[in-house]
Every structure is written in C-alpha cells, then in structure tokens.
C-alpha cells in the first residue's frame, strides 16, 4: 500500500516563475494538507483540501493556491516565486476534514528559487 507520494522530489525555479507541485494521498484518505518547511524550521500549514474545496488556510499570501481532484490528489501552485519561497513542501493526507485520522506525511518536494 503506497503512502503519500509527492512529485517532483526536487525542483529549481527562477524568481518570478510559477510552479506546480503534486501530491497523491495514501489509499483510503480523502483530505490533503500542505505545509511549507524552511531550512531549520518546523513545517508551517499552508492550506487543507477536502471534497475538492479549500477548507482551512494558514497565513500565506494568495500567490499560494491549490486544487483537489475527484480522485483526492492535490496540486499546490505558487505564482511569482520569491527567493524566500525556497523550502521543502510537504503534503499530508488524512481521512476526514478536521481530523487527524491516519495523518501521514509524504517525503516532500524540495523547491529552490534562484
């Protein structure tokens, strides 16, 4: 049974560009949450998707947007990239909105903005 899978594993983008990161939840999970982890810091919550809608959002600008598909997979989009967006982006899946049931993290996508 595959856990949470994220792609790509590493990515280098230029300042001002746009990026899309992808996440496939663990089998049986229907909720996807995204976190940003800067170097030497703990993960910070970006937003959570359930039933194809954004349900909760952390303190991130509108440049950060997302989407959830009918198969529960999710994308994180970041527009107008800044150097400060360089981080490890983690996806976590779980069962049910607002629930920690089975909360499982993927290995992340390492984004470097140059």
């Amino acid at each position: 049974d595959a856990g949470v899978t994220q792609s790509p594993t590493h990515l280098i983008k230029t300042r001002g560009q746009q990026v899309t990161l992808r996440c496939s939840p663990k089998s049986g999970h229907d909720t996807v949450s995204w976190y940003q982890q800067a170097l030497g810091q703990g993960p910070q919550f970006i937003f959570q998707y359930y039933e194809e809608e954004e349900r909760q959002r952390g303190n991130f600008p509108d440049r950060f947007s997302g989407h959830q598909f009918p198969n529960y997979s999710s994308e994180l989009n970041v527009n107008a990239l800044l150097l400060g967006d360089s981080a490890l982006y983690l996806c976590a899946s779980s069962l049910g909105w607002g629930s920690l049931s089975g909360y499982t993290f993927g290995s992340g996508t390492r984004l470097t903005v140059v």
């Binding site: 030497g40 810091q41 920690l100």
Partner: protein, 112 residues
C-alpha cells in the same frame, strides 16, 4: 535536553544513554499533541501522541510527558540508538483549526 527556541537546538548523546527533548507549546486550548521524527530528506514520521487529559504516555522506548500548567511537552527516548539521530518536532492540534502547529525542532545526534 534543550527546549525548542528561536533556533534549532542540538542534543548530543552517547549511544545507550537516555535522551530528553523538550518543547513549549503556544495554545492552551490545544487538546492533542504529537511528537514527530524527521530524518534527512524525509517527511515527519509519527512517534507518539498524547491527549490533553493525560500527563504521561509510554510507547516502545519512548515516553511523552505533558505539563499543561506551564504548556510544556517532553519526549524521553530510552537507550538511544544511532538510528534515533534525526530532528524531533512537537506539534499541537487544536481540532477546530484543522491543522498541526509545529515547534522548530531539536536535532538529536547519537554518538556511537
């Protein structure tokens, strides 16, 4: 052990010794707490959890202590092994917030 502060503290222990990692949490309304282990290049991995109506919980070689009065958590690892080397995070869950709030982590290094 060292408390999580504004930097990433490091705890270095000898193999076989016990380790204590501390964490201060922010929200007195949080009702569920989790310790995660994060190895290089991987996502956070669940270690042990505790609800706010408890003050101690034991797992295999790990114990979590919760002091709600001072909003403090600790993780105790018995007989620390080289494979325990990683960054450890405490996280709090407020339920209605729908997300985890992480501390900044403590890097544990185990010397063989």
């Amino acid at each position: 052990g060292e408390s999580v502060g504004l930097h990433l503290p490091t705890l270095s222990v000898q193999e076989g010794d016990n380790s204590i990692i501390n964490c201060a949490y922010s929200n007195s309304a949080s009702d569920y707490f989790i310790w995660y282990k994060q190895e290089s290049g991987k996502g956070p991995q669940f270690i042990i959890d505790i609800r706010s109506n408890m003050d101690k919980r034991q797992g295999q070689r790990v114990t979590v202590l919760l002091n709600k009065t001072v909003k403090h958590l600790s993780l105790q690892i018995a007989a620390t092994q080289p494979g325990d080397s990683a960054v450890y995070f405490c996280a709090e869950w407020g339920g209605s917030q729908g997300n985890l709030i992480f501390g900044k982590g403590t890097k544990l290094s185990v010397k063989p």
